[in-house]
């Protein structure tokens, strides 16, 4: 354990140093604070990428370490975004309404302000009243609490039901996907109180900071995301490096055996599933103010599948692998799908990346799964010459007289 522990410590230090250098570089080159070599919109893209790396860490904890292939963690991410988005949208609209009503001859009553705000926000879905779920939207503290509570409670209830009946493996994945689908279908409805498929918008305008240019706000959020990623990484390292991590990896490799050691496996899964859902919620709450808009499509099952693909390509079961996977794949994805990638004319057919990128991504996923199950992170093992030894066909006992593996299994 000592050796592995030192290895883990070293990778943590390297990661944090790289993150700090990256943050500093982006800051120095940003429009808001530095020389402007990096546009504000790209600062936002990078800040968003850091949030995706954070949710990938939570996915890696639950899948890479404990073997629970959740197809719901991006939904928890989206819920976090919705929760913070409600406050952003409410407060920002209230500011605008208050300013415009301030010029009126008679000072408006609180009710009038509230009605006007509701009209502004819900006009698009043909309503002018605040639904019950917006009860706390006027309080930043309450909505921030909900950023962790809503994903946490949903994951807790869902996990309790699923793990208690020992749903595992593929069945659990399907169940989490069903949950995600149900949630996104619900959010698509216009009368659910969250503006249906319009989603929440204008989230980049931070209340009280109307005078601060986006160039600066984007850097602040970038810092926030970098800090959250660093802190989340440390938290995850702490969770997986001790005995708790041992138990998680034990559950992944042979959960029945862990039970016979006396560990309540279902409780561990529940705690981990819920905890990582909260972490995903926090990542989402930092992401969507940078994206500016959140709508139900963000929570669709495909998003959670992407998340699994990132982690698989980056290398599951190691935290920096998740970060690399999320960072690399999401940036490359947005390059290809954003229309920046040049088309490839083949004469008889022109490859348009906007259409073909998904195919490429899918193929890379299959290739990685088949030929490099350790993902990109596995390259670091090669660097360290820590190639896993071939375990089969070896003598079973230390002596010549020992039976061989084949005989013993008979």
């Amino acid at each position: 354990m000592q050796r592995a522990y030192q290895g883990r410590n070293r990778s943590t230090v390297i990661f944090l140093v790289l993150l700090a250098v990256f943050t500093l570089t982006v800051t120095v080159l940003s429009e808001g604070v530095g020389n402007g070599m990096i546009s504000t919109s790209f600062v936002k893209t990078l800040g968003k990428t850091l949030c995706l790396a954070l949710v990938a860490i939570s996915m890696d904890l639950v899948w890479g370490y404990a073997g629970i292939l959740s197809l719901g963690h991006f939904a928890f991410f989206g819920l976090g975004g919705y929760m913070v988005g409600m406050w952003l949208m409410y407060e920002r609209t209230r500011e605008i309404v208050a300013t415009s009503l301030a010029d009126a001859p008679i000072p408006p009553t609180a009710q009038e302000v509230s009605d006007a705000v509701a009209n502004q926000i819900f006009g698009v879905v043909g309503s002018a009243e605040f639904p019950l779920i917006w009860a706390f939207a006027d309080s930043l503290a309450a909505q921030l609490l909900l950023v962790v509570l809503v994903p946490g409670v949903l994951a807790g209830v869902f996990g309790w039901l699923a793990f208690r009946s020992r749903v595992a493996g593929v069945y659990l994945s399907i169940l989490t996907q069903a949950m995600t689908l149900a949630l996104s279908l619900y959010l698509f409805q216009n009368d659910n109180g969250l503006r249906g498929n319009n989603g929440l918008s204008g989230l980049q305008n931070i209340p009280g900071l109307a005078d601060v240019p986006q160039a600066l706000v984007s850097v602040w959020f970038f810092w926030g995301a970098a800090f959250a990623l660093g802190a989340g990484y440390l938290l995850a390292v702490w969770v997986v490096s001790g005995k708790f991590g041992s138990v998680l990896r034990g559950i992944r490799d042979d959960e029945a055996r862990v039970r016979f050691l006396g560990y309540p496996v279902e409780t561990y899964k529940l705690v981990l599933f819920t905890g990582t859902a909260c972490l995903a919620g926090i990542a989402g709450a930092l992401y969507y103010p940078q994206a500016g808009i959140i709508n139900p499509a963000e929570l669709a099952p495909i998003a959670s599948i992407y998340l699994a693909v990132w982690v698989a390509i980056g290398g599951r079961g190691r935290l920096y692998g998740a970060v690399i996977g999320a960072g690399l794949v999401s940036l490359v994805s947005s390059w290809f799908t954003g229309g920046q990638a040049p088309d490839v004319p083949l004469g008889f057919y022109t490859i348009k990346w906007v259409d073909w990128w998904l195919v490429v991504l899918g193929l890379s996923f299959v290739m990685v799964t088949l030929f490099a199950p350790k993902g990109i992170g596995g390259l670091f093992d090669l660097l360290e010459r820590r190639i896993a030894p071939d375990r089969h066909g070896a003598d079973l006992g230390p002596d010549q007289g020992a039976l061989r593996e084949k005989e013993a299994s008979e």
């Binding site: 041992s246 016979f260 309540p264 079973l396 006992g397 020992a402």
Partner: protein, 246 residues
């Protein structure tokens, strides 16, 4: 002697096939018992029932002074009550070091939060070192257990079993794949353990069973065929027919 484990009238069927048929068995709190029987006799299934992995169709499994029924308890709960198990094919956590395997097994609080805030204590490490010595893996503590030989994995699993400090050890074919010297060492560990706790050993190797020098239960078609000293049961005609004479 009062019994630690009392199994009575237990039956279990898999798709109509009766793997255990009205089985009764009991063992005292510091006793060694060997279970022998042909392949498919139900030896492993018996262990599955005691450890909560398989729910019997009928019968009772009573545990300890408080006469607790083990039926309906989860595997983890039964393990915490003091039933430890070694599997037929060695199952250790191959990805993790010998030390991590032993630390995980070490008797301690098992809840997620106590484990999350657990700090490796010097006395726990000392105990791990002591166990490693006992199972001959002292200089392998930092090795990934997947790299160990088959025999060493068997021992690591025995070490994990001892680390749990169970009151009852269920040991399924511990000597498979071991050299004669290793077998002898395993016998010594088990005999030593049986001084303070109950040990049930399933084994095909008669020499091994003889060296354990304990009462023997012969299982056949899911029921007890004979019980007594090794000489007594090996002289039994039915036993010779179904098992020894093959």
């Amino acid at each position: 002697m009062t019994s630690l484990l009392e199994v009575s009238g237990v039956s279990v069927s898999f798709d109509g096939f009766r793997a255990i048929n009205n089985l009764s068995f009991h063992i005292g709190s510091a006793e060694m018992r060997a279970i022998i029987g042909p392949n498919g006799a139900g030896k492993t299934t018996f262990m599955d029932i005691v450890t909560g992995k398989t729910k019997p169709d009928e019968g009772r499994v009573i545990w300890g002074e408080r006469s607790l029924s083990l039926l309906g308890l989860s595997e983890a709960r039964i393990a915490r009550e003091g039933v430890g198990r070694k599997f037929q094919k060695p199952t250790v956590f191959e990805d993790q070091s010998v030390q991590e395997n032993l630390l995980m097994a070490l008797r301690n609080r098992r809840g997620p939060f106590s484990v999350l805030f657990y700090k490796t204590r010097p006395d726990h490490l000392a105990r791990v070192v002591e166990l490693a010595e006992e199972i001959g893996l002292s200089d392998q503590l930092q090795r990934t257990s997947g790299e160990l030989s088959h025999g060493q994995k068997q021992w690591l699993e025995i070490g994990m079993l001892l680390a749990q400090e169970p009151r009852l050890l269920l040991v399924d074919e511990p000597a498979a794949g071991m050299t004669p010297a290793e077998r002898e060492h395993t016998t010594n560990i088990l005999v030593e353990a049986a001084k303070t706790r109950a040990v049930v050993v399933v084994e095909h190797d008669m020499e091994f069973v003889r060296r354990l020098g304990c009462k023997v239960t012969v299982l056949h078609e899911g029921a007890v065929l004979a019980e007594g000293s090794l000489d007594h049961v090996t002289a039994n005609k039915e036993v010779i027919d179904v098992y020894l004479g093959r």
